[in-house]
């Protein structure tokens, strides 16, 4: 907090009262403050009252209203949600200011005049109490800030976790479980490619040079999925390069592969 009320030290005591009066009427100009340093309108009012050592039971409403409005006005770009509460307080203060000018007509059960400021004073004092209690709660010995217990703190980086004591039998049993789990839980295995598409293209071309053949005859020789896929890729690649032709006479019929004899002859291309 950098905010300071303008309470000037005067060398002569006589001037002090005069100065105070001047403050009341001519409005001390307070240095700009950050609204987000405050926790709402009550906080601002308490700040103004306490900093200027005003009597909370006899708040100079006119002065406090002007000072409050000054603080609010310097923050026009207020968040609209937040602004609402500050503006409500502004209107409360202005209403209070005008009521202070009127003769007191409201009287309580005991016949005393009701000070229109009472409600605001009650609110301010209640808030001030909680503000103080909040400070006191903050000063209580806080776990992980002031005191620590014997426990693993989640962010601990140097915690040594002792190894559990184990006997051989338990270790073997655990190892057995792991092995069992491994058997049933092979999810993904990466192996080196044992066949290449290029090799299979060579193989398919060689086969077809001996005469046309059925697709399933070519694929059926291979036991492994990998071989089937590679062969199929090889066939597709050869077809794309128009080295071979693929013919199917009707839906679901056998697919025949044959070498392209004449480069210009593409009329026999079929659908797979």
């Amino acid at each position: 907090m950098t905010m300071q009320a303008e309470i000037v030290e005067t060398p002569e005591k006589g001037q002090q009262e005069h100065l105070f009066e001047a403050m009341q009427t001519a409005l001390p100009s307070l240095p700009p403050v950050q609204l987000d340093a405050f926790e709402g309108p009550l906080d601002i009012l308490l700040h103004l009252i306490r900093k200027q050592k005003m009597d909370i039971f006899d708040i100079p409403v006119a002065t406090i209203t002007e000072q409050y409005l000054n603080i609010i006005e310097t923050h026009q770009a207020l968040d609209i949600d937040v602004a609402g509460e500050y503006l409500v307080m502004a209107s409360t203060l202005m209403q209070l200011k005008s009521r202070m000018l009127l003769p007191r007509v409201e009287i309580d059960e005991e016949g005393n005049e009701i000070d229109p400021r009472d409600a605001l004073v009650a609110q301010l004092m209640a808030y001030e109490q909680y503000r103080m209690l909040a400070e006191e709660i903050d000063e209580l010995p806080r776990m992980h800030r002031d005191v620590f217990k014997r426990a693993v703190f989640p962010e601990a980086d140097d915690v040594e976790r002792p190894l559990p004591a184990a006997d051989l039998e338990g270790l073997l049993a655990a190892f057995g479980h792991v092995l069992k789990r491994m058997e049933s839980e092979v999810r993904h295995r990466v192996v080196l490619e044992t066949m290449s598409v290029r090799e299979q293209m060579q193989f398919v071309t060689e086969r077809l040079q001996q005469g046309s053949t059925q697709l399933f005859d070519l694929l059926g020789n291979h036991a492994h999925r990998e071989a089937i896929v590679t062969t199929l890729l090889a066939i597709l690649e050869l077809w794309r390069q128009r080295v071979i032709q693929v013919v199917q006479t009707q839906n679901y019929a056998a697919i025949t592969l044959l070498l392209t004899v004449d480069e210009s002859d593409t009329s026999q291309e079929g659908e797979v």
Partner: protein, 195 residues
């Protein structure tokens, strides 16, 4: 030996151990014996680096507060400072529970954001106790055991003194507190709060 058993038992526990729990595990031991042993232990640790503390209705070993600087070095991160908004909201809930968000807002004179309530709930300091039987059936909030444990309180009676607290209703009725602070008191309090 009972004292040594108790010492080991409390040391090994992650939670503050209540009398009921101790009674359950130390069957055949009179409550008065337990209490006496606890008090002996408490005195034994009174001037040590760790202390036997009574928090959240149980007993727990904790490091003494004067060693916080050295002990906190064990961790790279420190718990973040709590905002005033969060602390004030927590204070109102602690003293006014069960209370609603609207009542908290009435006392603070400003909205209580969801992030503040969320933060308090997430830390486990505040919990929903139920719903208030008024239109809208708003949640009633109160503090938890975790709050007592984390703030080193034996119970809610152990909260900082609050003789003249006003509720949201008092304020609506425009009641003034009976006991008036002297100007000096309030000034001093204010200076502290602004430091």
């Amino acid at each position: 030996m009972l004292i040594h058993q108790l010492e080991a038992f409390i040391f090994a526990s992650d939670e503050p151990l209540s009398m009921e729990k101790l009674r359950r595990f130390f069957q055949g031991v009179e409550s008065s014996e337990l209490r006496e042993a606890l008090s002996t232990l408490e005195q034994h640790y009174a001037n040590r680096g760790i202390q036997l503390m009574q928090v959240a209705g149980g007993w727990q070993f904790r490091t003494a507060i004067e060693h916080k600087a050295i002990v906190s070095q064990l961790w790279q991160t420190r718990p973040p400072r709590l905002s005033r908004a969060m602390l004030e909201t927590l204070a109102i809930i602690a003293y006014q529970q069960p209370t609603t968000r609207a009542e908290i807002e009435a006392l603070r004179g400003i909205q209580v954001s969801s992030s503040i309530m969320g933060g308090l709930l997430e830390r486990g300091w505040v919990k929903v106790l139920g719903r208030k039987d008024v239109p809208g059936r708003p949640h009633l909030y109160g503090t938890s055991k975790q709050f007592l444990a984390d703030f080193g309180l034996k119970s809610l009676h152990d909260l900082p003194d609050s003789s003249q607290l006003m509720s949201a209703e008092d304020i609506q009725q425009g009641e003034l507190p009976i006991q008036q602070h002297t100007q000096e008191d309030t000034d001093r309090a204010h200076e502290q709060s602004r430091e």
